[in-house]
Symmetry: C2
Subunit: 351 residues, 2 copies
């Protein structure tokens, strides 16, 4: 990952704070790697205009305009539900490969499995990174992870796309600042792009979710005293809870950090599932691990991007009061209260 | 499935009440389809000797002895953890195919994906049934299952291999006897073999577990007023809870039937996970669905195969008292108390 990547990000029609999750995170954490974003509906704007960060990174209307920005990789920056590769993109991907752009793909549909694209990539000597392709051999989880000496902290959340990855990435430097050798365990395509390693946990065969999570933690623990695991989904998500529980029970955290968006009262796209009050949800999350290993929720990370500064400050204070836990919006107000809670937990934990 | 199947079951070294789960269930529910079992370590015995049911079905030492019993299909009757296809079986499978035996395989490793076996099957015109191969297109779950008019009842359990499939199969005729048009929704390879349809829910890609469960219930509900869904794993199973939760939240049952084995106090092969007292576990199981749809546990099905008749009767009575729920061992004492509870629930349910 140390080589000079220059991404052109495909986010057509969906470049938006709440939609283009992969694009947004790559721009937030590795803006130096991004030369432009394709979205005809927002062409002429900058990333700063659309997301509120990312500076002058331009939004362009077409692949050809993007090519003029001299990318060396095309990154698929949006993840439609179900992850299917739209047919209309095949032609764009062909052109990218013909122009020697590497392909970075986080969808469930693998670009390398589309025969015409695989053949084209071979012909042009272009690498296709299908980030969700699972490792070849995964064992069933069996609790080996309990022998790990590192402290394992997992972000959990009330819903998808609410800040579980962002919180860990925001925390990373802050926790290291406390003098703890820390590793980020990426479990989704975006985290993998940013970290350069990890396992796309939602893409493994169902029986092996926990096994993949266990292996990831075992691997990360070799290099660190503290492993920050990127959570997925929600324990009440009607579509993805299987992934969530497999990850919780496979990674077997010592502690959890709760991620929530104060303005969100129901599961996105499944509004019939109401999100319980945060204090109750914290109890549910602790109950979710209790039969295997007690993992207290030790801090709260709020996503307040849709609130004013004043409202955000008010809600952070209110949640801290209601839960009795260190609380912050790690993007808006910095990660410190949560980072401090993790460091303290790490030092105090009985071994 | 109506054709004349004559299975030779491969269960080498593992034909046993607690090991050869697939073999045992096929012998219990479709003994007329089984001509013999391969297990050199128990050769000369009968199924009755080994399992306590299955009558004169012989156990033989070798494939050639089995061939003399005139099978027309080889069924892989044991499921090692992880589901990998042992190399030593490849030769046996080759011989089966050369002898025109269909292959019925419930492992995660697909026989049809082993090039030499696929080629051989093609050459001999032999069908390979890879029962865990997922359907081609599965949507992400979105709650469409809430529109189903049929009553959905799911078996859940404290552990794997504890009676979740057996209970539903034992219940089927009894519930139909109450005059309710009922369909069994198979979610595992053994259930699929017996029912002739279903989805191997543990073999789909993690993001689609709930979607596969939802589709299965939608399909079964077209043909029935009551759908009995085969549960999988356990909400506290460190290896398989992701499958369990995906199935629960995808099938969205109206009621649950709790399956437990009184003598089992910890998760099999993961003994570090203790099984909570049944009354507590019932509360945990009801909490597992409460945010999506309340699904009370309405009855208990115990697996008492390792107890004496007297002890079994005593424990059934005790659990009925402690839980306040209709309780039986559906194999030993018949399914009626549980079947009656399901019928009553179906009739009384507010719509």
């Amino acid at each position: 990952m140390s080589r000079d990547l220059r991404y052109l990000i495909l986010a057509d029609g969906l470049f938006h704070p709440e939609e283009s999750k992969t694009a947004n995170a790559v721009i937030r954490y590795t803006p130096e790697r991004v030369v432009g974003v394709i979205d005809a509906s927002r062409a002429g704007k900058t990333s700063q205009d659309v997301l509120g960060f990312g500076g002058d990174i331009p939004v362009v209307a077409t692949f050809d305009e993007g090519l003029a920005l001299k990318p060396n990789a095309l990154l698929i920056g949006i993840a439609p539900a179900g992850g299917q590769l739209p047919d209309s993109w095949i032609q764009l991907l062909s052109r990218a490969i013909e122009n020697k752009l590497e392909i970075w793909n986080g969808l469930h549909t693998f670009v390398g499995d589309v025969p015409e694209l695989a053949a084209l990539a071979k012909k042009h000597g272009v690498t296709i990174h299908d980030l969700r392709r699972p490792p070849a051999k995964i064992q069933v989880a069996n609790g080996r992870v309990r022998n790990v000496k590192a402290t394992v902290v997992l972000t959990v959340g009330t819903d998808c796309n609410i800040g579980k990855m962002t919180t860990q990435l925001q925390l990373l430097d802050a926790v290291r600042g406390h003098g703890i050798k820390t590793k980020f365990a990426a479990t989704g395509q975006t985290g993998i792009i940013i970290e350069g390693s990890g396992v796309g946990i939602d893409a493994v065969i169902a029986d092996f979710i926990a096994g993949a999570a266990e292996k990831l933690v075992l691997d990360c623990a070799k290099e660190a005293d503290l492993v920050l695991v990127e959570g997925q989904g929600s324990i009440i998500h009607p579509s993805y809870s299987g992934v969530t529980y497999g990850l919780i029970h496979g990674s077997l955290p010592h502690a959890q950090v709760m991620c929530a968006q104060p303005s969100r009262t129901a599961i996105n796209r499944c509004e019939w599932v109401k999100i319980p009050p945060l204090v109750d949800f914290i109890k549910m999350s602790e109950a979710a691990t209790s039969a295997l290993r007690p993992a207290p929720v030790i801090a709260v990370a709020l996503n307040t991007y849709d609130l004013t500064d004043d409202d955000a400050r008010r809600v952070v204070d209110q949640v801290a009061r209601e839960t009795g836990l260190p609380t912050t919006d790690p993007v808006r107000f910095g990660p410190e209260p949560v980072a401090g809670a993790i460091a303290q937990f790490h030092w105090d934990r009985p071994r």
